[in-house]
C-alpha cells in the first residue's frame, strides 16, 4: 500500500507499465477494482496475487484493453511504454497494445485455434499487425520454438494443436507471446492447468526469456509458492483493492499486511507436515470487507 519502495537498479528508467488510480466497475453496478496503482519496470516480474474474485485478472485485461463489455473503466490511467492508453484513439490504442504487449493465457488448449497450424498462429500478429515479411516472421517463430526447447521446431510449425501435449502447447504460447519482442507480457495463471513438473519448466522458460530480453512481466497467480519462485515484486489484492505491494523478498521475509501473512500461512508445505492448516481467519475477511465498504461510501460522498 505504501508507495513503491522498489530499489530499481537504474532509477532514470521509465516504467514499462504504469497503472494509476485505476477503477473498474460493472456498468451501473459494483466496483471491481479500487484505486489500483502499480508499476512494472523493464526486466521486472511483478506477481499479482489474490483469491478468486480479487480482480487480479481484471487488471491484466484492463491493460490489454480486453475488459468484458459488461465492465468499464470509471477512472484512472494506464501508461504502456509511456503512452497514455486512455488518451489514444481506439485504433492507435490497439496498435500500441499489439506491438508492445502480449498475453500468455491460462488454458493452452482453448487459446490455440484447433483448425490452424502452429506456425501460422505464431506469425499471424507479426505479419498482419506489425508488418513483418513472411520470411522474417517464420524465422522468428522457428528461433523461438527452439528457444523454448521444442525438439523438432520445423515439424511443430506445421503441426496442429491437438498433436501437442499440454506442456508443448504452453511452450508454443510462450514463443508466440515473445515473438514480437514485446515490452510487457501479461501472464494470466499460465501454469494453473499444468502438472507440477511441467509448471516448473514453464516458469523457468518464462523467467529465462524475460530476463534475456528485458521484458516486463505482470504475472497473475493465486499460488504464493509460484509468487516466491518467479517474481521480484508482488502486489497482493483483496476485493479489487491492493493490500500490500512490495519486493517479493521482503513480503516473504516480513509480510506487512495480515492478509498477506494469512495467504502465505494457508499454503500447505510438505516440509512442515505437522503444522495445522490455517485458513484465512473469517474475522480478517469481515474486517477487510467492512473497511472497503466504508471507503467506498466515503468516496461516493466526496464525489
Amino acid at each position: 500500500m505504501t508507495s513503491e519502495q522498489l530499489n530499481q537498479p537504474d532509477d532514470v528508467r521509465k516504467p514499462t507499465l504504469e497503472v494509476n488510480g485505476l477503477n473498474v466497475a460493472l456498468r451501473g453496478g459494483p466496483r471491481l477494482l479500487r484505486d489500483v496503482s502499480l508499476t512494472v519496470y523493464p526486466g521486472e516480474v511483478r506477481a499479482l496475487v489474490g483469491e478468486s474474485g480479487a480482480g487480479k485478472s481484471m487488471i491484466g485485461k484492463a491493460v490489454l484493453g480486453v475488459l468484458p463489455t459488461s465492465t468499464q473503466i470509471t477512472s484512472g490511467k494506464i501508461l504502456l511504454h509511456g503512452e497514455d492508453l486512455g488518451q489514444s484513439s481506439p485504433a492507435r490504442r490497439r496498435q500500441t497494445v499489439a506491438s508492445a504487449a502480449s498475453l500468455i493465457p491460462q488454458d493452452p488448449l482453448t487459446a490455440l485455434n484447433p483448425s490452424r497450424r502452429i506456425g501460422v498462429q505464431i506469425t499471424e500478429r507479426l505479419v498482419k499487425r506489425l508488418g513483418w515479411s513472411r520470411a522474417d516472421a517464420d524465422a522468428r517463430a522457428l528461433e523461438l520454438l527452439e528457444r523454448v526447447h521444442i525438439r523438432d521446431p520445423q515439424r511443430v510449425m506445421v503441426s496442429y494443436p491437438h498433436e501437442l501435449s499440454g506442456g508443448m502447447r504452453q511452450r508454443v504460447l510462450i514463443a508466440a507471446a515473445f515473438a514480437p519482442r514485446p515490452k510487457l507480457i501479461v501472464a494470466d495463471e499460465p501454469t494453473t492447468a499444468l502438472d507440477v513438473t511441467v509448471q516448473k519448466q514453464i516458469l523457468r522458460l518464462i523467467r529465462e526469456l524475460q530476463a534475456e530480453s528485458g521484458t516486463a512481466v505482470l504475472f497473475v497467480t493465486h499460488d504464493m509458492g509460484v509468487v516466491a519462485k518467479i517474481s521480484q515484486t508482488v502486489t497482493v489484492l483483496f476485493a479489487g483493492k491492493i493490500v500490500e505491494s512490495a519486493l517479493t523478498r521482503d513480503v516473504f521475509a516480513n509480510p506487512q499486511h495480515p492478509y498477506t501473512r494469512a495467504l502465505i500461512g494457508a499454503t500447505p508445505r510438505y516440509t512442515h507436515p505437522d503444522e495445522p492448516l490455517k485458513p484465512v481467519p473469517p474475522e480478517l475477511i469481515t474486517n477487510l470487507k467492512r473497511e472497503i465498504a466504508l471507503a467506498d461510501m466515503n468516496g461516493a460522498a466526496h464525489v
Binding site: 525438439r151 516458469l203 523457468r204 504464493m224 494469512a262 494457508a266 507436515p273
Partner: protein
C-alpha cells in the same frame, strides 16, 4: 497398524483406445493400470499422486467400482468386488462413496441442497432422510437453513462441503476424494481439508485422497501411493516416501512443488528438454 479395508492384488485394467479404432472390428486395448498391489488400511487417509495420465483417477474409479477390473483382485472387507455383478455390488455401494472435483457440475443446479444430500439416503430406504440430511450438513459446518438453498447460491468452499455432506450422510466405510480441493482458493482449501481430517477421525473413515499436490498430501494423508504410467513407483507412510523416495519420479514430483519460501536456485534445478 489396523487391518486393511481394501486389499488390491495385481490389479490390471485396460480400456479400448477409440482414437486408434479402425472403422470395422474392435478397438485396440490400452493398458491403464499395470498390475497394482497395495492395501488401504482402515481409518487412514491414503494419498494417490501422479501426473495427469498416470491412472490415479482410473484407480479411484475401480475402488468405488465405477469401472471393472480387467484382472486381479480388489478385496473390500475380504470380498472381491473387482468383477462382482451389478446386483451383488448394489448393497455395498452405500459403503463406497465419492466426492468429486468440481462441485458445481456434480450438484444438480435444479435441486435444493437439502434434496441433493437427502437423495442418496432416500435411495437406501431410510424414512427420516430429511433429518439425516440436516445432520450431515451440520457435521460439515453448514447451518440447516442451507437446505433450502440452491448450489449457485453457495461459494466454492461451501459447495464442496455439500459434496462431503452427501458422501458422509450414509455413514460409509470408504470415501474416494478425487482432486476435491484443486478448484478452491487456499483459504477454502485449508477449511475443507481440516474438515475432511476431522470427519475421518470422528467416523473412522478410510479415504483415498487423489491429488496432484504433494504438499496437500503430506499434510492430510498418513500414507501415499505414487503412480506413473499405471504402475506404483513408490508407496508407504508419507514420512518415508517424502524423506527417502525410492523412485526418481517421486523425487521429481517433490522437487517441482513451489514452496511459499524464497529460493533463488529452485528454478535452475529443472531440465528443459522436452520428453
Amino acid at each position: 497398524m489396523s487391518e486393511p479395508l481394501f486389499q488390491v492384488k495385481d490389479l490390471h485394467l485396460s480400456l479400448p483406445d477409440m482414437s486408434r479404432k479402425k472403422l470395422f472390428g474392435p478397438a485396440p486395448r490400452i493398458e491403464i493400470l499395470k498390475g497394482l498391489t497395495f492395501d488401504l488400511p482402515k481409518g487412514e487417509i491414503v494419498g494417490i499422486v501422479g501426473e495427469s495420465g498416470s491412472g490415479k483417477s482410473t484407480l479411484g474409479r475401480v475402488l468405488v467400482r465405477l469401472l471393472w477390473a480387467s484382472s486381479g483382485q480388489v478385496l473390500f472387507r475380504g470380498q472381491d468386488i473387482g468383477r462382482l455383478p451389478e446386483d451383488q455390488i448394489k448393497p455395498l455401494r452405500r459403503d463406497l462413496q465419492m466426492i468429486f472435483q468440481d462441485p458445481m457440475s456434480s450438484l444438480n443446479p435444479r435441486h435444493t441442497i437439502g434434496h441433493i444430500v437427502a437423495a442418496p439416503i432416500d435411495r437406501y430406504g431410510f424414512r427420516d432422510s430429511k433429518k439425516l440430511a440436516l445432520e450431515a450438513l451440520e457435521r460439515v459446518g453448514l447451518p440447516g437453513s442451507f437446505a433450502q438453498r440452491y448450489p449457485h447460491e453457495l461459494s466454492g468452499g461451501q459447495r464442496q462441503r455439500v459434496g462431503i455432506a452427501r458422501a458422509i450422510a450414509l455413514n460409509p466405510a470408504f470415501i474416494l476424494a478425487d482432486e476435491i480441493v484443486s478448484g478452491l482458493d487456499v483459504s477454502s482449501q485449508a477449511q475443507v481439508l481440516t474438515l475432511l481430517q476431522d470427519l475421518a477421525a470422528d467416523m473412522n473413515l478410510t479415504i483415498a485422497f487423489i491429488s496432484h499436490d504433494l504438499s496437500v498430501i503430506r499434510t492430510v494423508c498418513s500414507q501415499v501411493i505414487v503412480l506413473n504410467h499405471g504402475e506404483i513407483v513408490d508407496a508407504g507412510p508419507c514420512e518415508h516416501v517424502f524423506n527417502a523416495p525410492q523412485s526418481d519420479i517421486t523425487r521429481t514430483l517433490i522437487d517441482a512443488i513451489p514452496l511459499p519460501e524464497l529460493d533463488d536456485n529452485w528454478l535452475e534445478q529443472v531440465a528443459l528438454d522436452d520428453v
